[in-house]
């Protein structure tokens, strides 16, 4: 198996019975997908459960897989749906941030100055830790847009497709996320 083969080709091989192709695919995507779920649900055990469910779903649906879209989009579409399904069954329901995409004056305050670059490892770690805390504080829909961008490298169009919204909404969520993160880091 060619370890550099495109995702779609690997998935086709797996669909046809090549387990090694799945291993390459899994190794490639396990970290980003796990972190996406971990940041979205906030609990390790819960993230592991959802993570396993997503892969099981992929394995179960392999026979129906057709490379009509990018594999990453397909994988994160499964993950997004699993997450929403989980929200829906929980007592709190689907977070309101998925419905509330109204304009926020905050978006007009996009900072133009750069964040201070830490000059040592300790400061870099602190900055990273603060960023993770700010990410955890974001509304779910905005956090998801940020994670899909940073972890899976999806374009705005693909983020829109995965989350079932139009591209403007996806862009708006990402902008809100970035603005809030910058403000949060400066405020600390």
């Amino acid at each position: 198996m060619d370890n550099a083969a495109p995702d779609e080709e690997l998935m086709n091989h797996y669909r046809d019975g090549d387990a090694r192709a799945f291993e390459v695919l899994y190794t490639r995507h396990k970290g980003p997908l796990y972190r996406y779920l971990l940041r979205q649900c906030g609990a390790t055990a819960l993230a592991e459960e959802l993570f396993q469910d997503v892969w099981m779903k992929l394995i179960g649906a392999r026979a129906r897989y057709e490379a009509r879209a990018k594999f990453t989009t397909y994988l994160y579409h499964l993950a997004h749906n699993r997450l929403i399904d989980h929200y829906r069954r929980a007592k709190a329901g689907v977070p309101i941030s998925y419905d509330d995409d109204q304009d926020d004056p905050l978006i007009e305050q996009v900072a133009d100055s750069e964040l201070l670059e830490p000059d040592n490892e300790l400061d870099r770690r602190r900055l990273g830790q603060r960023l993770l805390e700010q990410i955890a504080a974001l509304p779910e829909a905005q956090r998801e847009a940020f994670l899909l961008r940073e972890e899976s490298g999806l374009s705005l169009e693909e983020i829109a497709a995965v989350t079932g919204v139009n591209i403007e909404t996806a862009k708006s969520r990402l902008r809100y996320a970035l603005t809030k993160l910058r403000q949060g880091l400066r405020g600390n």
């Binding site: 019975g17 055990a45 964040l115 940073e150 490298g153």
Partner: protein, 341 residues
């Protein structure tokens, strides 16, 4: 982390501050799933595409369609055969005095019934096997299942006997036929044998059944622990009679020897199609020689009767705790917040 590729026109440019934020984020997050979880998923992926070695010619993709065609073809064959036999019997009744037709009619009818009816009663057998497997060794369960299947096949075979006496009434005054008087006797023997076997099977399964009842539908069947003193990860394998959100194993937990809750792993959903299933959890704050219990809870029946007891150092063994062990923990947080499916 993946690299972004600008493949849009209007939306390709990074948003303000995006690259900078990405740099900080990538340096801050290194989380990956645990190795045990990797192993479980990869094993499942491999199992899903594993081909039965004895049936290599057509591969996995054709297995289901071909088996479907084979089942249909066999079914048609059986139906045609039965139709043919029915026609022959009818003809023989026309040609031969009816009193001579009774004896052969019973076994033929019984055979026909066996072929047709046994699959219809198969699900209860499967259910019984599931119950037996919960507490018995696999070989024992298989043996019991075979005997149970035999019992059902025989009792099904004896079913036509119930209708036979109606036909026999017409034969009472007929000239003695060698086969005719034997039929009722044979049928009674079959009934007696069937009853005796049924009693024997029930007696044998009573112990397993009682134990299965005690487990309330779920039990722990394997426990593994790894990690550092004071912070161990547990891999717990559970077998449960899940049917969906109405009946499912909703958590497993680690309890100290004196009944205090050390860790609880809440399960998000039922595992109807994944049995047994393994879920990891932790960290569990114990030392290598700390003796703990690992037990599973069912949303309908409470704690299972079969749990594991032991320590990371000495290992864990299957034990049935006392009924009053650590009662009341099922009201203690964390508790399930709904069931996904």
């Amino acid at each position: 982390m993946a690299t972004r590729k600008p493949n849009e026109s209007q939306y390709t440019d990074p948003l303000p501050g995006e690259d900078e934020m990405a740099r900080v984020y990538r340096a801050a997050t290194q989380d990956v799933p645990p190795v045990s979880l990797d192993a479980r998923i990869l094993a499942e992926a491999q199992r899903a595409v594993a081909k039965p070695k004895a049936h290599a010619p057509f591969g996995g993709r054709w297995a289901i369609p071909l088996s479907t065609v084979a089942v249909i073809a066999l079914s048609l064959g059986v139906v045609l055969l039965l139709t043919k036999q029915g026609a022959l019997n009818h003809r023989s009744e026309l040609e031969v005095p009816s009193e001579y037709t009774v004896a052969p009619a019973v076994p033929e009818s019984a055979d026909a019934e066996r072929v047709v009816i046994v699959p219809a009663v198969a699900p209860p057998v499967a259910d019984m096997m599931r119950s037996d497997e919960r507490v018995a060794a696999p070989a024992k369960a298989k043996r019991a299942a075979q005997e149970t299947e035999t019992r059902i096949a025989e009792s099904v075979a004896s079913k036509p006997a119930a209708s036979a006496p109606v036909e026999l009434k017409n034969k009472v005054e007929a000239p003695p036929a060698t086969a005719t008087p034997q039929a009722p006797g044979r049928m009674q023997d079959v009934d007696r044998l069937s009853t005796a076997r049924e009693e024997k099977t029930l007696t044998r399964s009573t112990a397993a059944g009682v134990l299965a009842m005690k487990t309330q539908g779920a039990e722990v069947i394997a426990v593994q622990a790894s990690g550092q003193p004071g912070s161990y990860q547990f891999n717990v394998t559970v077998k449960s009679l899940d049917t969906g959100c109405k009946q499912y194993a909703d958590w497993w937990e680690v309890v100290s020897a004196d009944g205090k809750l050390l860790y609880r792993r809440v399960l998000l959903h039922s595992h109807v199609d994944e049995q047994p299933f393994t879920r990891s959890g932790g960290p569990v704050p114990i030392q290598p020689d700390t003796v703990v219990w690992v037990r599973v809870h069912m949303n309908t029946g409470g704690y299972g009767g079969v749990a594991f007891k032991g320590s990371v150092k000495a290992g864990f063994k299957q034990v049935v705790p006392d009924a009053d062990f650590a009662t009341g923990l099922d009201k203690q947080a964390p508790l399930p917040d709904g069931c996904d499916f």
